[in-house]
Subunit: 218 residues, 8 copies
């Protein structure tokens, strides 16, 4: 490349938390193409703070996706991009469907299937020479006895176990939000406790940027 950067292509595979109106079919090429969520903010922060990382972000989030949907479009939407890295941000819809569509079992994804979907996606990525980064699902409810929080924690635990077993970097966003929730009520960051506004997006982006120091900063 003429500009002397060593470019690394990082694709975000996720749900509405990542999507945020990103461009179709591929979310790259301009800030607007990255959507108006944490991906655009993270791209901006990394571009300013760490241009030497040479990270090229591509947003392939799709609203409503569960891990099952993600796995189904993995070849087309991820592998075909020939990525260097993939950030997987998935799991809250696997959780949520039991609560907002309890009578629609065909859209329910069990924790077992979630684990299997994560495994298959990681296998596929690594076989294609793409390194994986896992970013945990989260629910902006500090009460761990809340049924949906408790369920989200189960999916999160699966991802953590998976990351540990595979030696893959893992960022626990729930922990970050839990810390902020000791100072702010959930509605400050997400009215429905799922979709973060700018404040919640900054929690995600700053957590990811910090984690990226380990991955890209050496």
């Amino acid at each position: 490349m003429e500009n002397g950067f060593s470019v690394k292509k990082l694709v975000v595979m996720g749900d509405s938390i990542s999507d945020c109106g990103r461009a179709r079919p591929v979310g790259e090429g301009s800030p607007d193409a990255l959507g108006n969520g944490y991906v655009r903010l993270l791209d901006a922060m990394v571009s300013v703070d760490h241009p030497e990382w040479g990270l090229h972000f591509i947003n392939m989030g799709v609203s409503g996706n569960t891990s099952r949907d993600l796995a189904a479009r993995w070849a087309n939407d991820l592998i075909a991009q020939k990525p260097d890295y993939v950030l997987i941000q998935i799991g809250i819809n696997d959780t949520w469907r039991y609560f907002d569509r309890p009578l629609q079992p065909d859209v329910h994804v069990t924790t077992e299937e979630y684990r299997a979907n994560l495994g298959a996606m990681i296998d596929s990525a690594e076989a294609a020479g793409c390194r994986v980064i896992l970013s945990s699902p989260f629910f902006l409810e500090p009460n761990r006895d809340d049924p949906m929080r408790a369920a989200a924690d189960r999916y999160r635990a699966e991802m953590a176990r998976c990351a540990k077993a595979r030696g893959v970097p893992y960022i626990d966003l729930q922990e970050r939000f839990d810390a902020v929730l000791t100072r702010h009520y959930s509605c400050r960051m997400a009215l429905d406790r799922v979709h973060p506004n700018t404040m919640g997006q900054y929690v995600i982006a700053s957590a990811l940027e910090q984690a990226f120091e380990e991955i890209f900063g050496a």
Copy 2:
């Protein structure tokens, strides 16, 4: 009246839960003018089930209102309508502002002020020959230790005390929602636990219709 009904004019004074896009300046004259919330549904149910009550609904809800805002427009928006009855559905914004705008104390309404506002409005209505019906604030969170639920409960308790002290009919919508929340997670009825969808609107409308049996059914 030619049609032989004895008409009773019932004005709803409330916030966004009542407003729901009702017509301006006065929400009456057609179903659409009543907005797309529980007021239109209640009007439909009462018209079908109890035409003999002769209830003419007027929706004067305004999104974002606290009890302070309601009191400020009481003369213009209620008394000037020469109503027979007023349904007061207020209090969740008095609660919410401490949680979504904690740094904006000028919009905070204390429970003391809430009590005073309710009292002043009832005095004004009764002085004008208008009978008052109180409908409690509610928050679709079953965990009573949740800070915002706990706060909402304090405002609700104020309204209950006020109703008892003044001998005014009082409908506890929180109790109704709590019963339904034993079967459904909150997101089924309101993504933000504040603004009910059709299912939540039916909870309200059926509770009010049942309470109206006592008031108008004799």
Copy 3:
């Protein structure tokens, strides 16, 4: 299912009275996906009053449909859903086309064809293990000598006979509306006497919910 409900999938096959802007291709997954007509209201009422029925509503109404159109999309739109129940709400367009398009005979459906279409659809549903519920066409005109009311009554009679012959539950919505029309002029519920507003939708939904007590309440 994890949540312990025994789920029953109930698909509504109908015309614009059911459609009301429901989601495409399949009207399920959220209240908005059910459209803004009686189906959404019925879903809300049943969810609140009878969660134990475990009814999952799917709205497959299509504006303008006659029984002929319904039969033509029966395999794709109904059978492919693997439903437990189907609610058939059809017939007013079979009637209406003689009155609003008298010169377009290719869209006219005779009562004979209507009977045959109903029969074929019931056969197909039952062969697929799906139970049928019939909901009559109606016209909000109390004068039985009105030509279109008289015609609608003929189609309704066909459906009633069919229901009796097949031992299928049948809800006569015209009777319900006729009762309400003794107290309200038709324009209160439907300006064109065909498409019900919220008040007319409540007449339908409450009639269906009551009939469902027999079907699902045992």
Copy 4:
């Protein structure tokens, strides 16, 4: 006038049947300014068939108006135009409000008030040198026992008596529609039996054009 026509300014005072989206504040100056109802069609027909009449149409219809509303804006909207003729097309809303808003007596206009309003408007017009033409209210329901048709007939009868008493030209549009209704069901011309489509507008416009032969054709 340079063009050699003897211009006569004819203002239409009416309700939504006349309004049809006409320009504000004054409906004149272009075909679009006359709205998309019978007024524009009548203007077109007269311009083609009888340019020698020199009729300049001004549409001052306002949707929702009763005779009370018309009288209230008479000075501003009619007299200030210095008209030669006024066509009064009013009365269906006086009728309708008893049926669509039975519980809102403040918008009900009795036949007595209707008669008085007509009288006051005619007095005012004639005092200003403006000749009056009366055009009857109509309801596209052939069954004279229908309650709203019967009511509309009472208002129509008032207008006919008024026309006779004052020696003012009177066009009975109900009779025209009744004749057409022997061949077409009402929905061909107006889905709600009140607001005519192009076919209903042509019934009105051709009736008025024919009546104008007597008035302007001598």
Copy 5:
């Protein structure tokens, strides 16, 4: 047909003068489906004045069409409808393209080709048992020395000759407009002298209705 009419299906094949926003793919079924031009007006006039003709109008006009375009879609858009009659209203775009796109010869249609196109379309229609009615092109410019008027007159003459040779009914709309143009300047009916407003549409519709007396009135 149950209603006792003998239905005749009449399809209009034309350009933007006929199209006027008619429904796609087939312009039939409701007044709006006929577009907002002369076809809807003619349908309304005939429905009121001559219901006994049993004419069912279908508008298949397409904006911008020349006779070449019309011929190209003749099988799909006309013959497939199995029409009883076709009204051909074509030719002004054949004329106009020489004046508004003089440098684009591939869209120019000579009078020779125009004649051939008319002949081929009539042959095709008659072979399919469909009777043809020809309606002349027109240009709202009374000066016959104007180049575009002179050109339009040449195409019109071709159509007239064709009608005479084939014994097909022919309505000369230019003559009608010329008569009106002695009383009104062209901008009263069409700002661009091509696309008629309501007044110009009435000239067409009344000319056609009068001509139809001969064809359908016997």
Copy 6:
């Protein structure tokens, strides 16, 4: 001024030909503020070709204006701007109203009034130290016997006489258009022969730029 230009403020007072969607209340500050007509094009051409003139254009055209309207807003819209020059482009609506609104004499402006309006505006401008430039009305019809062209020629002659009598610069745009009309039919530049497209706007702008050589180029 810091930039070393000697700025001259030139305000355009005109009708829709000048207006073209210019900014309100004052058409200055950006190219878009000048509208999408000849004023923006002229500003661009002069800025490129003659930056040394230091001309600051302000578009104060208002669609539909006659000379009477222009005179009525002269003080507010022109004098208050403290202009150095005013370009008056008015007269086609004075002409047109006799043809498109022949029956509305209150909007007719005679040539006598046109002359008087021009005189009054010039007096007012000159008294305020503002120099006047006159730009003739035009009608894109080469046939001088056409009634509207003939009328436009009479207004144009008035302006020419006025310019001569007052020693004011005068640009005859009709002559320019007549020359172009020998090569192109009118619809190439203006479908209604009044409102120029880009091609017609270039005719105006190049004529004005050439005339400005005399005025500003010394």
Copy 7:
């Protein structure tokens, strides 16, 4: 305050760089009310990183403002808010008007006037007990010989001098951008070198947050 924070009200007075579609009349109450620019991002970052500061942001930016406009609305838009702090972000329009509207001297603000405006605003704020923070104008052009950059530097120097003379905190955003411009071409952050996208907004917000450490962090 009940929540135990010591609230500080900080009002942003600025131009389009601050405005970004903030709510009218007062930009406070929700993240959307702060617009979609650096103010919302800064609010999010400070809320997450430094909730203990208790900063309540109010965005009063107005697109297009120069220091003259800011001073003109100082009493209404700032003082009336009873602020604890004001952040002044102004000056690029003072600069730009010489370059984009060189011929419109009435909108030019000299550096002398800029200095005076700043002084007057600081005096007014301090007299009202409001502390001032100055944020420099910037232009995303690294070439200091570029005429507009050179001009922007002169206004920036005035602000720096003013800050020093008054002992007021001053953040030099140009220096921040200059540092980033050694790694990225200007179009990465602002296509027109004036209005920052998310990446440019992050440069501003992180610079301000860092500077706020000194001001609010003690």
Copy 8:
């Protein structure tokens, strides 16, 4: 051709500078179809000033195109039109992608590839009997040391060399803009220094018209 012109079809192949919202799939047939950029203006100027050239413009610009994109659609978009001339206006995106998308090497076009693309397109055009005119890329930045200007100059030099080598007419638009930039700051003509407003479009159109004198004026 009947009108006696000798028509030459000139197709513009370019990027967003040419595109400007032109019609799809082919930008011809009306001024609007040419987009709102320099192509429409050039067409207007040539039509007025040089109708004898008989130039028919077709705009086939596509926003965002590099020379690689242009070459890829050369057969479909150019050759299939059977053009007499092609104007190639390409290169600024080849340049820009290194600056606005430095991390996306797959969209970078080197000067070597640019030269090859130009060569291949010229070969293809000439083989099809189409004459080529080259119009240089430009960047509205007068500082030749600016990195993007320097890069643009390299692509421009390639085009100039190519034109010379092939004996093809070449218009250096950068030189034209450089001359204007001695009098106006870049933002007068293009806020982002790439996309010209009306003033910049006139610079292009007048340069091209002047160059066309040599090509078409003999």
